[in-house]
């Protein structure tokens, strides 16, 4: 009886629901679900040669970092969530990531006039020197803001943005002002769209400005000066603001951004009360077959975080990328530069030339030549007075001038790359680099490293679908670990398969026990946007950089499985 009643009730409910279902089908028409996932799992082996033991691995031989993100959209509405698991995190990632959860979720609505997002969001004002939140999975970096973002387009050519939220810090929930609240506004004006008289002008001009404020509950900090114990009162609100322009005329492009930050004593700048300044400028010219670019960056005490105590690469509000070239060949990227947010000044220039097919230099198949130079120095700092040390806690720190180049070289890189096709089946890229790397400043270890690096990257299309690529690399230096050679062979079969073997050999190490081979065997399969790869081998200790951020990775040995997919 009871059972029948339920069935009857169910049938009635179904009948009642049907119109809703049908209507919702109509309403849901146009719905889309997309997403992506990645899993990196490693089975670690101990390796006495590189000092990897059960203790350094904390007894956790199997580790995995993984995420799945799902986004739903219907018309102007979008919502999404990302689950992350670090069980436990791979070596080299911060142990504070240990755990699983959904650190990213949002819902947004947009039309031609307004774009509102509640939840987590990634945003950039201008070049990011004042505010940029973003995620770089391979580096374990995520500084997303959680809160509210509104973007307006009140008039053609005008974009206004406002953000209000708190940043992600591993898994630590925000409560009781445990980190700062970030508020920001940005305005962008594309004058050629705003003023009808400028519509068809050859000169294109964009102006912009940003203001950001970080509120962190006031605190005091005690420190010892000689025999005295002093107490500092730390500011609650730290503002950072600036302006920018982008000017374009034919092939010329000139962009500049200036930012100023008010006094912001933090753990990273040794609690000095100096204000911060930054300037980034870039001039480029491009025409068919030629590209030229010069840029310069000056930053003085510009680290801007929503937690003044943080000394890790987390809760950064702004983005201060290096202007040096990012290299990807293994030995060329052995000594990568990363920005020194407390102060640096640098210049960089790049040129690319393409000599077309059947020209004098281009030969039958064309020739591309690219040259790049960059140098970054410390700032010229002078003491405030005779009794105060440079950078002394609780003071204004030091005196510096606009664009004051210091004598100390932090990094220098000069490189040349030639790409050439030989007939229909052979291609080569040949590079030479000379790098100067100030290890004391960049990593905190003694010494400056001067290195000569050569790379030959040759590929051979055996058939239309099968190709073999080889890399031959050498790094020669009298400092640090001495000379290296590296070789790679990679066979790809379009569209799905690859196998590769690579070895880096530190043959010039002064310590003969450390003349190690770092070999890796890899294979992978790609189907549409899904890729599965396995590798086995020993990875050297080093710094990997993606985009503008770098991360230290310890030496490892083991089997790794990587799966990526998107739909």
């Amino acid at each position: 009886m009871k059972k029948n009643l339920i069935v009857c009730f169910g049938a009635a409910a179904l009948t009642l629901l049907l119109p809703i279902v049908v209507r919702s089908q109509e309403a849901l028409k146009g719905s889309e679900i997309h997403g992506s996932m990645q899993a990196d799992a490693t089975y670690y082996l101990t390796d006495t040669k590189t000092g990897i033991t059960d203790t350094t691995l904390a007894g956790k031989l199997i580790r995995m970092n993984a995420f799945t993100e799902v986004n739903y959209s219907l018309g102007n509405f979008t919502a999404g969530v990302r689950f992350e698991s670090y069980l436990p995190p791979l070596t080299g990632y911060d142990v504070q990531y240990n755990g699983t959860g959904a650190p990213y979720w949002y819902a947004s609505y947009k039309n031609d006039f307004i774009d509102v997002t509640a939840g987590n969001f990634y945003e950039q004002f201008g070049n990011g020197m004042i505010l940029r939140t973003y995620q770089e999975w391979t580096l374990g970096y995520d500084n997303s803001l959680r809160g509210l973002r509104v973007k307006f387009t009140p008039y053609h050519g005008i974009t206004l943005k406002g953000v209000y939220g708190v940043q992600r810090y591993y898994w630590e929930p925000y409560k009781d002002y445990n980190r700062g609240i970030v508020k920001g506004a940005d305005a962008d004006f594309f004058l050629n769209d705003i003023f009808t008289g400028m519509k068809d002008a050859r000169l294109k001009l964009t102006l912009g400005g940003s203001f950001v404020s970080d509120y962190q509950q006031g605190a005091t900090k005690e420190f010892t000066s000689g025999t005295q114990i002093l107490t500092l009162t730390l500011p609650e609100n730290v503002a950072c603001y600036g302006g920018r322009f982008n000017l374009n005329l034919g092939g010329f492009n000139w962009q500049t951004e200036y930012a100023h930050k008010i006094n912001d004593p933090t753990a990273l700048n040794n609690y000095i009360y100096k204000s911060g300044n930054g300037l980034f400028t870039n001039l480029s010219w491009a025409s068919k077959g030629i590209g030229l670019s010069v840029m310069s960056k000056w930053i003085d005490n510009m680290s801007y975080k929503s937690d003044r105590r943080d000394t890790k690469n987390m809760v950064n509000i702004n983005y201060l990328p290096a202007i040096t070239k990012e290299h990807t060949y293994a030995l060329a990227s052995m000594y990568p530069y990363s920005t020194q947010p407390n102060g640096e000044v640098g210049i960089a220039a790049a040129a690319t030339f393409h000599f077309a097919k059947n020209s004098w230099l281009g030969g039958k198949t064309g020739l591309t030549v690219a040259a790049n130079f960059s140098q970054v120095n410390g700032l010229k700092k002078t003491a405030l007075n005779d009794t105060t040390m440079i950078g002394q806690t609780g003071t204004e720190g030091y005196k510096s001038s606009f664009y004051g180049f210091g004598d100390e070289v932090y990094y220098q890189d000069a490189n040349l790359e030639v790409s050439k096709k030989f007939g229909k089946k052979w291609k080569g890229i040949f590079s030479y680099l000379y790098q100067t790397y100030n290890k004391l400043i960049i990593e905190g270890h003694e010494g400056t490293i001067y290195s000569n690096i050569g790379v030959a990257d040759i590929s051979w299309n055996i058939t239309k679908k099968v190709s073999l690529r080889g890399e031959f690399q050498g790094l020669w230096t009298k400092q640090d670990k001495g000379n290296w050679v590296a070789g790679l062979a990679e066979l790809t079969v379009s569209p799905s398969w690859f196998v590769s073997v690579m070895d880096q050999y530190n043959y010039g190490n002064d310590d003969t026990d450390q003349r190690l081979n770092y070999y890796t065997f890899s294979a992978g399969y790609t189907h549409h946007s899904t890729r599965i790869a396995v590798s086995y081998g020993r990875q050297r200790e080093g710094i990997i950089c993606v985009g503008g951020v770098c991360r230290y990775v310890p030496a490892t040995n083991g089997f790794t499985l990587t799966v990526t997919s998107s739909f």
Binding site: G10, K110, F190, G289, M295, E326, A370, G548
Partner: protein, 173 residues
């Protein structure tokens, strides 16, 4: 109660079964703001090609396989355009570190693509792109019909073959 729940779930099946047909494919590109290499505003809605197929390739100046892919296609691009009318948009995800090097590099290499800047990955996120290179093929109606990550020499032949299929009105598997 158990039966009721089952019934309710059954009632929802049609919703998903209808939705399933197309829910996992992009019927049109999400509308996202980017920049041209001249620093001018550009919205992804403007990615069009008069009803002909479109290729979108996500790349960066620091991504070697991306540059291999775009250089390989560049060698045959003018023939592709002439034969099929296809248009390639090369979306650079270089951030402020290197976004100003994009135009000099693309010009320096003699690429004839429409190059766009997505410096904070807004379009990349909207298209759920992970590792690059990641290439999308879009048919004349604006629907994504194929996507692929990574690049191996020979992949470009697959791509142009699919463009030809689209032009013949055939379905992409």
């Amino acid at each position: 109660m158990k039966h009721l729940r089952i019934l309710l779930l059954l009632a929802l099946i049609p919703v998903f079964s209808v939705a399933q047909q197309s829910v996992f494919s992009y019927q049109h590109l999400p509308s996202v703001k980017m920049k041209t290499v001249k620093g001018l505003p550009f919205t992804s809605d403007s990615i069009t090609n008069h009803g002909k197929p479109i290729i979108i390739s996500f790349w960066a100046t620091w991504c070697k396989p991306c540059i291999r892919e775009l250089t390989t296609i560049s060698d045959v691009y003018s023939e592709w355009v002439e034969e099929t009318g296809v248009k390639l948009y090369a979306v650079s995800i270089d951030d402020a570190r290197s976004s100003s090097l994009v135009a000099p590099l693309a010009n320096g290499k003699g690429w004839e693509y429409t190059v766009l800047l997505d410096p904070n990955g807004d379009f990349k996120r909207a298209m759920n792109v992970g590792p690059i290179p990641h290439t999308f093929l879009i048919d004349g109606s604006g629907k994504v019909v194929f996507q692929h990550t990574s690049f191996a020499e020979g992949d470009e032949l697959n791509l142009i073959e699919m463009v030809r299929k689209l032009n013949r009105g055939e379905k992409i598997e």
